[in-house]
């Protein structure tokens, strides 16, 4: 009976079929050693720098890089803290901490000791405020600045502010969009910058500034979205926003970064080795190689258009839009301790929330 014979053949073929899958499955298992990286969202997102950088490093080290994103830089610390509490370190490298978060992160970071990544000497000196032995590798940086919509300025007959104090002039009333320092890194950077500039008088400045801002957005994205909707002609952002617009069709220079006479604060993004998961010398070597790779000319050249930040290493070729960015006279590299940030936010809250009079 051919039909039954066919069925028997089919049945006997089933185990063979599954046996044949074993080598295929085995071939699918990635046996390469692994480097685990904690980083922020936009690094690994589509179009972010991770998509360019990580495959190149995987090729170089013959290893697999597993990038685990944890929201923002601040959430990276929460992740390190939780790993520490659970006594279950996962990553070997963390990427995306900035100078404001460093004080909090330090206890979870492996200090470098005598070791220095190859190419470390090429990093811009103004980015090296954190001593190298602590283990912070400046990876890229951004210069905070007011972005102006020149078209809107013309419509409202406003002149570009030249110094920070100009923001208090009557013409700027409800014409500035800022970020809330309690919820946003650029917002906190603006607050610390004003503190550096005005010193003891900072709270007078902020009390007066209450009438000037249109809103304190919860984050940079919300603030910038309002700015692009022409809600106000000025927004606190990065100088590289100008480069972004230039690269995306702004031929007439409608969106421009405004620099103040006092100078501009910067945000330094860094990478570091994570304590607790580097006992294997091979794993340590891979992690160190990754740090060195981050400051290589190859990677630094990719950052401008993928991360919209500036390279931390000298002599890296930049696109024309970046070369056209205004150069600040002075950079504020503000480094704070966690307790200090708490105190500043508390004082800010008092100055702004508890001040008398309506906006």
């Amino acid at each position: 009976m051919p039909a039954k014979g066919g069925l028997v053949k089919f049945r006997s073929a089933i185990p063979l079929y599954f046996l044949s899958l074993i080598p295929l499955g085995w071939a699918g298992v990635d046996l390469r050693p692994e480097l685990i990286l904690y980083t922020y969202d936009s690094f690994v997102a589509k179009g972010g720098p991770g998509a360019e950088i990580l495959p190149r490093f995987e090729k170089l080290c013959a290893c697999k890089v597993r990038a685990l994103s944890a929201g923002s830089g601040a959430q990276l610390i929460a992740r390190l803290e939780l790993d520490y509490e659970r006594a279950k370190p996962t990553a070997q490298v963390v990427l995306g901490l900035d100078q404001h978060l460093w004080d909090r992160a330090k206890s979870y970071i492996e200090p470098w000791g005598e070791w220095r990544p190859k190419g470390y000497s090429g990093i811009l000196p103004e980015l090296k405020a954190i001593p190298a032995k602590e283990g912070f590798l400046p990876f890229d940086y951004g210069i905070f600045a007011m972005m102006a919509d020149r078209e809107a300025l013309q419509e409202l007959k406003l002149s570009v502010p030249e110094k920070l104090g100009d923001l208090l002039k009557g013409e700027w009333k409800r014409n500035i969009i800022l970020e809330d320092p309690r919820t946003s890194t650029p917002g906190l950077a603006f607050l610390l910058y004003t503190q550096e500039v005005f010193g003891k008088n900072v709270w007078d400045f902020w009390t007066a500034l209450r009438t000037q801002w249109l809103t304190l957005a919860p984050g940079w994205d919300g603030a910038y979205g309002l700015f692009l909707k022409k809600e106000a002609p000025l927004v606190w952002s990065y100088t590289t926003s100008q480069a972004y617009h230039a690269e995306h069709g702004d031929k007439v220079g409608r969106y421009q970064a405004i620099l103040f006479q006092e100078g501009q604060p910067i945000q330094i993004e860094g990478a570091a080795l994570v304590k607790g998961n580097l006992s294997d010398p091979a794993a340590r070597a891979r992690a160190q190689a990754f740090l060195e790779f981050l400051i290589s000319t190859e990677v630094q050249g990719l950052l401008s258009k993928t991360n919209w930040m500036l390279p931390s290493v000298r002599g890296v070729a930049l696109p024309a839009s970046f070369k056209a960015l205004p150069q600040p006279k002075k950079l504020f590299q503000i480094r704070t301790r966690a307790e200090q940030v708490k105190q500043v936010l508390r004082d800010w809250d008092r100055a702004v929330s508890q001040a008398k009079g309506s906006r």
Binding site: V44, G47, A70, R182, T183, P218, K342
Partner: protein
Amino acid sequence: MRVPRVLGWIAFVWAMGFVAFCLGAPLGALLLRVFMSSGSHPEFVDLVGVWTVVQATVQQAFWSVFFSVGLGFPLGLWVGTQVSCGSRTGRACEILLGLPYGVPTVVAGLTGVLWLGRSGILAGLGFHSDWLYSLKAVILAHVFFNAPWIALAVAQARWRVAQDSDAQLEAARTLGASYGSRLRFVIWPSIRWPLASQSVQVFNLCTMSFALVLLLGGGPPVDTLETAIYSHMRFSSLDVGGAAVFALAELLINLVPWGLILYFRGRESHPVLILRGNKPDRFKNRGSRASQNLMSLGCIGACLVALLPYSALVWIFFKQRYFNSDFASEIFRPLVLSLGLALGASVLVTTLSIAAVMVGALTAKNHPRFQGILNLALALPSGVSVLVLGLGFWLAYGRWLDPFDGSFLAMVVLQATLFFPLSFRMLWPLAEAVQLPLLEAALTLGASPGRAFWLVEWPRWRGPILSSAAVVAGASLGEVAAVSLFYSEKLIPLPLLLTRWMAQYRFDQAQGLAFLILILSAGTIAMVKGRVS
């Protein structure tokens, strides 16, 4: 009632298990952390600062509720009086009033700017106002969100009056009672508790409003406790102690109104269980057919006003033409995940709510005090910040659950915890009107408990259960806070994709995605409610 003990116990274990695992353990872990942590010295807590934020939060929430009730109550009463419960207009009103709940906050914020902004629609028409970026804008946005919700509760309660107290209404009318008297003595007693309950729910939502307050409020003094909680977790060294103080203030603010409702309700002399027969909805036609039609149109028009702000988004969406193959391929995975999340959350919430309602119904007669405690325990999630709850989840279950590896299950559970009180409040009226005589009769005639429930109670439960599931699914599609705590690169739902696009200067596409989320969440509610009705 001879409901089998096993069924009652299963419901009890399920409901209490939820309270223990989703609330007790996370909040307990947080408290433990506060007491164990050396970094949370109480001297950091600036009581004047706490008081200022509490004042700002309560002020904002109070006015939001005040105006939401001011608009929602008469609208609900009008719809409930003029439109019959089962009619086509009644169904349409029910759907329209339920839709705003599915609107994600980020979309609500965006529409606020589109209408009231300096380059917004009203400004384009020559109406310039300084409302945006002030307390008024926050209240307005909250009112558009919540007034329909209040109106829906009132309309549904009014429909129940038409079913349960029709004879009383008729008698009052025949005896010459004015509308005011009928409202005061017949309608109001049945409407006041659903109205109070919904108002407290709205108050809770407003006190925990975060993005909307920050975006539209213009910064301090318009403030919210959530901002303070967020900043303590973000910039300070995971200052759980500081965050806990604000979280406790928030919990108290939110639970006190629930406590008051339970207290005053408990003092009422009438029994909690209302024995009612299976009377049809005998809605009386008043006036000519033409005037009836006019009233129906008026009701639908009034309900549509609540959706007016979002029409701007529709117009912009079609003007910009966002949909292309890139857009579709990029949103595909997040869309599937969001739909799965909505389904999971609504199933979990609904089963929990049914269990909780059953426990409430079973204990109402014999243990009224226990029922009060149960009600308060089940109202707890209304008062707990999602940030605090999320951190509690991390601390309690972090040993087994790596939050940063992404966890679909954790997202579902956290969302279920958030939306549970909403569903519970929607289903609770069912427990208060169990048809005991019919159930007893069915059991006496030999029907199994399951069959008796299926035949007697299920037709009444089906609608509210599916409605609550739809509302939870709609709300889940736009929810961003809970999912942002347990996502990973492979698990990115639509609202997170939206925030990510905004961070990448992709504002136009983000706007398109916001519209899609709005359509999905509101569409889910409309579709299910339409079928149910």
